[in-house]
Amino acid sequence: MKIIYHCFGGSHSSVTSAAIHLGFLEKNRIPAGENLMRIPFFDRQTSEDHGIFRFMGLDEGRNEVYIIGRRNFKNFEPLIRGLIDLMGIKQEEIVLINTMPYVTWTMMLGGFISRKLGWIRLGRPIVIHGTKRAYSNFHTLVDQVKVMMLKK
């Protein structure tokens, strides 16, 4: 099974969620900024990286976990579902998780400053602060994903 966490830029919420899923970050402890920065792709991706699936690792069930930045493309999930049908893959083999509903305005602001404007020294601390504040949202999301997968 493939689990794909997707967000606007593929740099913050999707990456954090995938890292929690894979056990790179502890669920019950808000990570330090340095720990977030050690996650692959955290506050790293640029607009050229948007639309590219990045493999994050295998979870305990040997499911492949990916992240992707898909900007504001409203039809991202229908496109992927359409491609799955064309490829003859079973729909239930691919799980798409939108992490944007869990993103706070601080994360958006910091992410914009860091990634879009390139003012990393200003934006990165803001997005890290925002990610820490929203951390419980992401680990709740991951818990829900794992429960859903157990039911399948």
Binding site: F55, I68, N72, F73, N75, L79, L86, I89
Partner: protein
């Protein structure tokens, strides 16, 4: 190979391109307005479903699709081959062609995507840019041959 012709609505430029590619329309002759209006899927706003729609097969057996991508230019060109690669398929098997037509811009896209303006107006724009689209298709055909 799978060839995806993309435009904002999935119902105009991409349909014309796919029709040229599959031989329904000519590379060298300007079609009449009614010929365009009678094309399968012409004027259907496929971006509403978001799913690629199979249009036909070319003379080399490549499958040709049309796809509405809204305003997100450049993104789908990454998504499709990357998804192929993630599923252990050769990304070169997926060719994404975004049809960008001069004078089709954010204003005209909004009119046709959201306000559902009359297809005949769009048809005139397509005819004015027909050989631009045909040139794009010719380049694709040269690459896949």
């Amino acid at each position: 190979m799978w060839i995806f012709y993309c435009c904002p609505t999935g119902g105009f430029e991409s349909v014309v391109a796919a029709s040229i590619h599959t031989g329904i329309l000519s590379l060298n002759r300007l079609p009449l307005e009614d010929e365009l209006l009678s094309l399968p899927e012409f004027g259907v706003r496929h971006q509403l479903s978001g799913r690629p729609k199979k249009y036909g097969i070319d003379t080399l057996g490549n499958e040709v699709f049309i796809l509405g991508i809204g305003r997100e230019k450049g993104l789908v060109s990454n998504i499709v081959p990357s998804f192929f690669e993630a599923n252990k398929l050769c990304p070169a098997q997926a060719k994404v062609v975004e049809i960008n037509v001069p004078k089709v811009n954010i204003v005209t896209d909004y009119l046709f995507l959201n306000l559902r303006f009359d297809n005949r107006w769009k048809t005139k724009i397509i005819i004015n840019n027909y050989f631009h689209i045909a040139q794009i298709v010719k380049e694709v055909l040269d690459q896949v041959n």
